[in-house]
Structure formats: structure tokens, C-alpha cells
């Protein structure tokens, strides 16, 4: 994390908070404290759980971290075309595995997320980096309503998709599957993209020893993550036998300031919206003979897990 010399990245996070979203927010706050980025705003979207919950969860996580000064804007309460399906089995019905956080006293913003995002982008042309760690509904609405947004954003970093495989179906990852049409709008937008899909995020985990350390740490962040992540960890154990907590959503946040701990490759990537078996698949041309003829994304494929985990662990334990 030795990159202070360059212009500090201005970051907007769009989240469906969510347990790993909460960890990602804490990570962003740590990186901000270290002067590595500036968090310009957070928007909420329905995804892991309903919008009312993701909105409150984001607000309350910020309050828990003493950062209720950062504004949270309410976004879309449903996908653009497809039916909404929450992921209670991973995140619990309240999105935080049933953990109840203290309610943030900050006033509730009412301006729609896409409007707030656009205003921020317009105030900082060419500098704002949009990080999407939920379904891409808000971003797609913003791109549709404000055509000049494409030229205003520096880039979009996504947790979503996979070159190979999926976690909802064998072809699709949750965030893309939950609103494939929105994702296709983002992937076709022309804004430079960084895709942190399952290819890399499944390698971005806290191992058993690291989780143990967090479990025995008395801080608020540690208590939240160690308790709220039990469902996700059980699912992981059942599917792969691994005792680990995968922190998908922290990947694009850390990539934004420490790209050197990741490896990736340029590719053409688009989203399947029609195929009944493959809806929500991010179709990449990286290793195929026939190419799309455009490279619209950096597909992130690997991460230095130790360094990733070090940052996330520190972030959680400093809240």
C-alpha cells in the first residue's frame, strides 16, 4: 500500500449490505483512514436482502465505525426486469446473520442513489471510481438516466460474475444473476471495467486461524463479522470442506488502491440475459479462439491471499 504519491482515488460504493459488504465497507474505511482513498458516498440496492434492510445495514455499519458522516443513499428496491430473490440462506433475513446493530442517528437521505451518484460524478469529472458489490441495478439506472455519466466516471469495479462457474447456478454468480439486464448495461457502457468474479474472490478468504483471531477480538467489527458470517462459513464447509470465510466484496475495494496484489487480464466480457440455463453468465472471450472484438474489462483472476487477508483483518479489527 505504498502509492500515496498518486492522486487519491475518489470512491463511491454501491452495496446490498450483506455480511461481506459490511466487511468491504470496513475495508474502505480503513483505507480511507490510511489516506489511500476518499469515500464520497454509499448507495444501497436490493440484493442479498431487501432495500430497506441494505439501506439501514449500510447506515448502521458506518455508525458502528464512527463514520455516520458518510452519506448513504437509497437505490432500487427491485431488479430491472427479473423477479427478486433474496439470499437469506447466506446473509440471514436481516442481511447481517441476525446481528442487531445500533441504529444510526444520521438523517435518512431520500434522494435516489442514481441522482446522488450522478451529482458526485459531475462534481469530479473523470475521477470518481464506482465500486459495485451488489446487483448492478442502481448503476444501470444511473447510466440510462444520465448518458454523460459514461464519460464522467473513471472506471467501474465490480464484484460479480465468473469466467468459469457460478454460485447460484452452475453458470451464474449471484450479483449478476440477480439483475442480468442491469449488469449487461454496465458491461456495455463503455466505462472501463474491473471484474472481480468468483475466479478471484473464491481465493480471497480469511482462513481458520485468521477467523479465530477475529472471533477472540473484542471490537464491534470483529463481533459482527465473526457472528454474522457463520452461515456463509457453513455453506463453504459443506460445499468444499474448507474452513474459511470468503470476503468477495472486499476484492474490488482493495483492487482500487492495491492492484499490485492482484493479477488479471484484459478481455471482452458480456452478460447472458436470455439463455434459460445460463442467465447471468459473464461470457468472457479471454481463452477462446473467437473474440468479441472489444476488450471492455480487466478480468481479475488471482490475489496474494496473505496480503488481502491482512488488510481485511486489520479493517475488521479496527472498527
Amino acid at each position: 500500500m505504498n502509492e500515496q504519491s498518486r492522486e487519491i482515488p475518489l470512491i463511491w460504493i454501491d452495496a446490498d449490505t450483506g455480511v461481506d459488504d459490511a466487511a468491504a465497507l470496513m475495508t474502505a474505511l480503513l483505507l480511507e483512514k490510511k489516506g489511500l482513498l476518499k469515500l464520497m458516498g454509499i448507495s444501497a440496492v436490493c440484493g442479498n436482502v431487501e432495500l430497506e434492510k441494505t439501506f439501514e445495514n449500510a447506515r448502521n455499519v458506518l455508525y458502528m465505525a464512527g463514520r455516520e458522516d458518510i452519506k448513504v443513499w437509497p437505490g432500487a428496491d427491485r431488479p430491472r426486469l427479473v423477479e427478486y430473490h433474496p439470499a437469506y440462506h447466506v446473509h440471514g433475513e436481516n442481511g447481517l446473520g441476525g446481528e442487531i446493530l445500533q441504529e444510526s442517528p444520521a438523517p435518512r437521505e431520500t434522494k435516489p442513489a442514481w441522482e446522488a451518484l450522478y451529482e458526485c460524478a459531475k462534481a469530479h469529472p473523470g475521477r470518481l471510481e464506482l465500486i459495485l458489490i451488489g446487483p448492478e441495478t442502481n448503476a444501470s439506472i444511473a447510466l440510462d438516466l444520465y448518458p454523460d455519466l459514461t464519460g464522467l466516471l473513471k472506471r467501474i469495479l465490480v464484484m460479480g460474475g465468473a469466467e468459469y462457474g457460478g454460485n447460484v447456478t452452475s453458470s451464474a454468480e449471484f450479483n449478476i444473476w440477480a439483475d442480468p439486464h442491469a449488469a449487461q448495461t454496465v458491461f456495455k457502457s463503455g466505462v472501463p471495467l474491473v471484474m472481480c468474479g468468483l475466479d478471484v474472490t473464491m481465493k480471497a478468504f480469511l482462513n481458520a486461524a485468521e477467523m479465530k483471531e477475529i472471533e477472540s477480538h473484542p471490537g464491534h467489527g470483529s463481533r459482527l463479522i465473526s457472528r454474522a458470517s457463520t452461515r456463509a462459513r457453513e455453506l463453504m464447509r459443506a460445499s468444499s470442506g474448507e474452513t474459511a470465510y470468503v470476503v468477495h466484496d472486499a476484492c474490488p475495494v482493495i483492487y482500487a488502491v492495491c492492484p499490485k496484489i492482484f493479477t488479471g487480464a484484459e478481455a471482452g466480457v458480456f452478460v447472458e440475459t436470455r439463455g434459460p440455463l445460463t442467465r447471468g453468465k459473464t461470457v468472457s472471450d479471454r481463452i477462446t479462439d473467437i473474440k468479441f472484438g472489444i476488450k471492455n474489462a480487466t478480468v481479475v483472476l488471482d490475489v496474494d491471499r496473505e496480503r488481502f487477508a491482512g488488510i481485511v483483518r486489520e479493517a475488521i479489527m479496527s472498527v
Binding site: G165, S170, G275, L277, T278, D285, D289, I290
Partner: protein, 317 residues
């Protein structure tokens, strides 16, 4: 050794031809019929190629012309890989006998009906003939021991980013075959792109010294041209995998999976969608071949070519 009866169904094609080199040389296999299909080139060209390959290799089974187009899809050809004739490269012999007058599917049905034991179908082109056979003569399913195909890919495609040529050419046919409930082996790009024959291997192949070895080396010289432009370190000689997985399973790694065929996707039509993590309740329907010992593959090719020592047929210069 008791031989296993097989039907060869393909769209030759250089790699189909090399697959048949392996099949004819293998003492375990008894070729009962050869059927062409439109794919790498038009049906007229693939049939002529099939006919000439059988003459070159001394395959005496009847050769019949199969489907001239996919069931519903628009036909495409792969001239960029296989050339104008579908088998460009060294001169080949003219067919030494007439084609079987039966349509390809009828010849397949006849072989199945007359065989006292179930027959294996080795399909190295689009699955049009096999699908039509299954839907036309469902009662003959019990006479099919296994269908061993080259096609698809669990992790990626080639003709489209998510689809491999043989499946993309006729996805509906593939759907019928994958849903037939028959033992099915799929050699997709996962394994076949590892079945590379590199220019370093060419001299060893040539040094076998007989006519077939010289022609195979000539086919490889031609077949490597296009993949070389794409950045491959050798020619991915896909189709022989579908033969060798049945005769030399020890050089492969396989995995049982449920695999379905996407028919409607904008980007994914023709994708072989594999349930590698057990998301669906469906039982595995396919033995998916995932890896090959490349060095042993080359050894087996050299061994197979030695079978043709002493065979020399006049070619049409």
C-alpha cells in the same frame, strides 16, 4: 481379443481423419460403418473426404452420406481450419469403391439392428446424424453401447466464447443426444485443446516412414497453420480423443457430471452447461474428459501409424 463394434460418424476434417487412423489401427475396435455429416465443410466435401480416408486406411466398412445440414440451425463451415476441401494438404487416393446407397442414418440403423451386441458410436462432428437416429429409431437405443463424442467444453468455447464448433453447429441435435439417457462420453475443449501436436513432434511422426505417416504429417502441417496464427503452440488435434478415451482410458482424466445444452442464449447458444458443483438435482449424464497425458498421446499416434507399414495406395497427384 474380442473386438468392439463401432460406427464412425464425422465431418472430416483433419482431426476426424487422424481419429480414424487410430480407430482402424486399434486391435480392440471393429469398424462397422462410416458416416459423414456436414460440419467442417459441406456434406459433399466431408463425404468425399470420408470416402478417400477409408480408401487410404483400408477401412472396408460401408461409407454413407449423412446429414447435409443441422436439424434447425443455419449451417456454418470451418474452412479457416480445414481449408477449401475440408481436408487440404497432401494428395489423397480416389475412392476405391462406390458409396453405400443408404442414407447415413439408415446405415447406422442397419448396423445396430444386425449387430448381435451393442455398438459404440464415435461422433467427431456435429451430432445431427446421431440425433436423427435416436429420434427416428428409439427402439434401437438398446443397441447403442455408448456414444463417444468430440464436442463442447465445460470451461469455455472456441467458435463462440461460450460454445464449441460441433455443438454450436447443431445445438438441437446435441440436446437430443445429451438427453437420450445413453452412456455418453464428452471430449470437449477442456481436454482436446491439451491434445496438442507441436511442430517438434512432426519429424517423429514422419519418421514412421510409411505412406499413412507421411500423409498424417502433411495433414498436421496444414492443420497447424490456423491455430499457429491464433497463438497455439501446436495443433489441437481434438477428434482422436473420442476414440482413445475408449481404447486407452489410462492416458485421460475424467469426471462424471450433469451436462445440458443451452439452446437460446444470446451469447451461450450451443454451450455445454456442466453442473460441476451439484446445483441441480439431476444425476450425472456424461463422462466428461478433462485432461490428457500429451506425451503418451504422441506415443500412441506413432504406434498407430506403424500399423500401416507396407500399405501403399495410389494417390491422385
Amino acid at each position: 481379443m474380442k473386438k468392439r463394434p463401432v460406427i464412425l460418424d464425422g465431418d472430416p476434417g483433419h482431426d476426424d481423419a487422424i481419429a480414424w487412423v487410430f480407430a482402424q489401427a486399434d486391435p480392440q475396435l471393429d469398424i462397422k460403418a462410416v458416416v459423414s455429416v456436414a460440419g467442417n465443410q459441406t456434406i459433399v466435401k466431408t463425404t468425399r473426404n470420408a470416402h478417400r480416408i477409408c480408401t487410404l486406411l483400408g477401412i472396408e466398412a460401408p461409407v454413407a452420406r449423412g446429414a447435409s445440414r443441422p436439424i434447425t440451425a443455419d449451417p456454418v463451415t470451418a474452412g479457416n481450419w480445414h481449408g477449401e476441401s475440408g481436408l487440404d494438404g497432401p494428395p489423397m487416393p480416389e475412392p476405391d469403391r462406390p458409396l453405400c446407397p443408404l442414407p447415413g442414418v439408415e446405415l447406422m440403423a442397419k448396423v445396430l439392428r444386425e449387430s448381435p451386441e451393442p455398438v459404440m458410436i464415435i461422433a467427431t462432428g456435429p451430432l445431427t446424424n446421431v440425433a436423427t437416429l435416436l429420434t427416428t429409431y428409439p427402439s434401437l437405443k438398446s443397441k447403442i453401447a455408448r456414444i463417444s463424442i468430440m464436442g463442447g467444453g465445460v470451461t469455455h468455447g472456441n467458435w463462440k466464447p461460450a460454445a464449441e464448433f460441433n455443438i454450436f453447429e447443431d445445438p438441437e441435435a446435441a440436446w437430443i443426444v445429451f438427453h437420450a439417457g445413453l452412456p455418453l462420453t464428452m471430449c470437449g475443449l477442456d481436454v482436446t485443446e491439451k491434445a496438442l501436436i507441436t511442430p517438434d513432434d512432426f519429424p517423429r511422426i514422419l519418421s514412421v516412414g510409411n505412406q499413412t505417416a507421411r500423409i498424417v504429417e502433411g495433414w498436421l502441417q496444414f492443420f497447424y497453420r490456423f491455430p499457429m496464427q491464433l497463438g497455439y503452440s501446436g495443433a489441437p488435434v481434438h477428434d482422436p480423443c473420442a476414440v482413445l478415451i475408449q481404447t486407452h482410458p489410462e492416458i485421460f482424466r475424467t469426471r462424471e457430471m450433469y451436462v445440458d445444452i443451452e439452446l437460446e442464449g444470446e451469447y451461450t447458444r450451443g454451450a455445454t452447461v456442466a453442473d460441476f458443483r451439484g446445483y441441480s438435482d439431476m444425476k450425472p449424464n456424461v463422462t466428461v474428459v478433462m485432461d490428457i497425458d500429451r506425451e503418451k498421446y504422441i506415443d500412441l499416434l506413432v504406434e498407430a501409424l506403424a500399423f500401416y507399414d507396407g500399405r501403399e495406395v495410389p494417390v491422385n497427384e
